[in-house]
């Protein structure tokens, strides 16, 4: 403590250290210390001015507005969570889809916007996909029966699902997407084996660049390099 009682205050040189006054202001001192210090502050205009400055600082902090989460950030987080395998919290070592936004974002602001831009340009990333292949396989659900007229109803089932069927190997999926003119740099938002009007295939959910809008691609089981095997390609959502 550097203050000397009785010495006239000479602002801006404080007779009491700022850190000590800040501790007093924050209630960080024990009662005895605080009581002694308050008595000194009462006789020290510079110290009182310092406490007032700390009050003003806190008031400014209090006045900072509380920003709402931007829609595109919420959508990106939604998409990441939706892309996680179903079944809630996976057991340790269970299948987990990594957030693809780590690679999408760096090209600019907004993962979903980027994701969408990439999709609009026919670019889908596959890097970082960790799917359950071999090892402890998860029993695949039976193919989802859809018709071309109600293809959109497959969205809820496919979004976040990792049922890639014959396209389970990332290389096979990449080859299939490339055959359909979709360059590979990311990952789909979900996949589900389906029958579309009786034809076996895989429904892939791809981003479009718009929130809550998805491109649904249905390809046959033989989709691969040079074989698009396209069964349906439509956009659903708002």
């Amino acid at each position: 403590m550097t203050g000397t009682p009785g010495r006239p205050p000479r602002p801006p040189d404080r007779s009491l250290p700022l850190e000590l006054l800040a501790d007093l202001h924050a209630g960080a001192l024990d009662e005895q210390q605080a009581a002694e210090l308050r008595a000194r502050v009462a006789a020290d205009p510079a110290a009182r001015a310092t406490l007032a400055a700390l009050d003003a600082t806190v008031a400014e902090l209090n006045a900072l507005p509380s920003p709402r989460m931007p829609d595109h950030v919420a959508a990106r987080i939604d998409a990441t969570l939706a892309a996680q395998p179903r079944g809630g919290s996976a057991p340790p070592g269970g299948p987990v889809v990594e957030p693809a936004s780590r690679s999408w974002r760096r090209a600019g602001w907004g993962g979903v916007v980027l994701l969408a831009t990439a999709a609009a340009a026919g670019v889908i990333a596959l890097s970082g996909i960790e799917r359950e292949i071999g090892g402890n396989p998860v029993a695949a659900p039976p193919p989802l029966a859809l018709s071309a007229a109600d293809l959109g109803e497959g969205l809820d089932e496919a979004l976040g699902s990792s049922d890639y069927g014959p396209l389970s190997r990332p290389a096979a999926l990449a080859a299939c997407l490339e055959a359909n003119g979709i360059a590979v740099v990311g990952e789909p938002l979900g996949a589900r084996e389906v029958t579309l009007d009786g034809r076996r295939g895989v429904l892939l959910v791809l981003p479009t660049g718009r929130i809550a809008q998805f491109r649904l691609l249905v390809v046959g089981p033989d989709c691969g390099a040079g074989t698009p095997s396209l069964i349906a390609d439509t956009v659903v959502g708002r």
Binding site: P17, A26, A53, A56
Partner: protein, 206 residues
């Protein structure tokens, strides 16, 4: 399609998530997203960093939900994961030089309800926060910006209440100088003189 669990409590949502309800966790995140976004944006300042931190945090929570045993409230548990993610990023970023940020980032409110001078002050405050060491910044954001009690902030930060008070005290002292409320920068340790000069110049110049 609304989930049957969407109107339940946070505990209900966690339970539904663990049962495999694919919408339960997203609903939980939605409930708390604005508050957590505010914490992330105010501590990290950069909207990209804030978005990444939240995504990492929510993904961690998604994966760890199976281990949540209800010793604390779901909200506290989730907030703590978010605060930890932000602290990690702050510490990493403090290890490298910071680039100047635009005066108005995408994460700042676009609605101007206040006089221009007040708005500039608020932006200056948001900028000044970034100058604080990670631990002090987190404490100040939680207590002074977000309005958490000392006890709640201590729980979220995993430290004693006295530590939160002390960190707030140090942080406020530095901010008081950075914001120009105190004119004697020499009294504050660890505040680079050039930073103080720049802040004061800007505030005095408007």
């Amino acid at each position: 399609m609304s989930s049957p669990s969407s109107s339940g409590s946070d505990d209900d949502l966690i339970a539904a998530h663990r049962r495999g309800d694919p919408r339960a966790f997203s609903e939980l995140v939605r409930r708390h997203s604005d508050r957590m976004w505010a914490v992330a944006l105010r501590t990290l300042r950069d909207p990209d960093e804030a978005a990444d931190a939240l995504q990492e945090a929510f993904l961690s929570a998604f994966r760890a939900a199976g281990t949540f045993r209800g010793q604390s409230q779901v909200t506290t548990w989730l907030h703590r994961i978010v605060v930890n993610a932000c602290l990690d990023r702050m510490r990493r970023r403090q290890a490298r030089p910071t680039a100047p940020l635009p005066e108005e980032g995408p994460g700042e409110p676009t609605e101007c309800r206040d006089p221009i001078a007040e708005r500039e002050t608020r932006l200056a405050v948001a900028d000044a926060l970034v100058e604080l060491p990670a631990e002090q910044r987190a404490a100040v954001v939680l207590v002074d910006v977000q309005g958490y009690s000392i006890a709640a902030a201590a729980m979220l930060l995993g430290v004693a209440e006295g530590t939160v008070k002390s960190r707030c005290a140090r942080g406020r002292a530095k901010l008081a100088v950075l914001l120009g409320h105190l004119r004697n920068p020499d009294a504050v340790a660890n505040v680079p003189p050039e930073v103080v000069t720049a802040r004061q110049h800007r505030r005095e110049g408007r």
